[in-house]
Symmetry: C2
Subunit: 237 residues, 2 copies
């Protein structure tokens, strides 16, 4: 079991290091040897786990997707009465992940700028998030939070576009550190007329403050590695 | 003069070809030889005009900036009574340029994804556009179009972020072809509460329809080349 534990831990370390390298320099400027060095792993070890650079990048994207989807699911499990509040809380969690977690930042960067290299669709993340957002808007509609006649799909697209652009602008201007402030200004403007829920600057700011520190910035792969090691040790005993 | 005219025309042809290559494949995947081939120019000729790949890319970005700023200035010269209408019309012109002009598309792509390679600031375009937008909001405020207490700088940032995200999403999902429709859905939501001007779906759609076909998709460099040739010919006569 010890060998398997070590392998899991090494794999997690490589993904974490790759997240740092890709988020700092992008896909093409990052060399496989840079990732190995950052991970403190031999190049041969890295190539055993990930035969090609595209394999590392796809593992980073996969992990980023898992992390953000877990954050979205955690919001769902809060069982709040408000779909609009859920959207704002998801945005706060994403903002926090983007500013604290290199794997998340790298995953976003890879999915926008290295699409051709990685053979992935640049449209898919937008479509996934729109579907997620439509679900929350359905909850909002059921709770009586939406004005009449709103097309949920179109409104979800506007919400996603506005979040995406805010994230890009914040990343370019402040390295994402001012993203929560920008969201606190965005949501009251975007929701002011179409939403009947409490959506003043103050209430949005409070939601962002309350929920931006809930996230454990540790990556799931690290947690998995740790728990695999624990259960492995348990079995070995 | 004939040699100079030919040089101007060749330079314009190289920039146009580079716009196509960079917008299709991005900076790193585009080889200098690809641009020369697309331009129908010898590699030596290209290197005479642009000694390095970064020179070509920076010329594309410079031309893109000139094209979009000319479009913004043209709106200014319309002398409309409404700052809000001006913002919507500028967005229509940009949408049209993005979908019809490869140099504009390439410039936007290069300024977001190849920042490290080109030694440019990814923040600058956002800051420039925010300043432009603040000016139009000042006009809107003077015309009594804004609700009380709006911070113009913050509102301009929200407007720019929302446009940027809409453009990214439209590019990913439809290759930018649905950008006008997305803008027609965005502006009424974004402006509904904070703006006292006419900003219904119908009025915004009308503005977008009226102003999205006003732009000559020909690049200024080509026009310049043509007019330089004409004036050259005139001088030669």
């Amino acid at each position: 079991m010890a060998r398997q534990q070590r392998a899991i831990r090494t794999r997690a370390r490589i993904i974490a290091a790759a997240g740092e390298c890709f988020s700092e320099s992008g896909y093409r400027a990052t060399r496989v040897a840079d990732v190995a060095e950052r991970a403190g792993a031999a190049l041969g070890t890295l190539l055993f786990h990930f035969p090609a650079k595209t394999d590392i990048a796809n593992a980073v994207i996969e992990q980023q997707h898992r992390i953000v989807m877990e954050a979205a699911t955690a919001v769902d499990e809060m069982n709040s009465p408000s779909g609009i509040q859920d959207i704002i809380v998801v945005s706060a969690k994403l903002a926090n992940l983007i500013s604290t977690n290199p794997v998340v930042r790298a995953g976003l960067r890879l999915s926008t700028e290295s699409v051709e290299d990685l053979g992935i669709s640049s449209a898919q993340p937008y479509l996934d998030w729109t579907r997620q957002c439509v679900q929350l808007l359905e909850k909002a509609r059921a709770a009586g939070e939406l004005a009449e006649g709103i097309d949920l799909e179109h409104f979800a697209e506007v919400i996603n576009s506005a979040f995406t652009g805010t994230q890009f602008m914040s990343s370019a201007v402040s390295g994402s550190s001012d993203l929560p402030e920008r969201l606190a200004r965005l949501w009251p403007i975007l929701f002011s007329q179409v939403v009947k829920a409490d959506c003043t600057s103050e209430s949005v700011q409070r939601l962002l403050d309350d929920h931006s520190t809930l996230i454990d910035a540790e990556t799931p792969a690290e947690e998995e590695a740790a728990s695999a090691i624990e259960s492995g040790t348990a079995e070995a005993e």
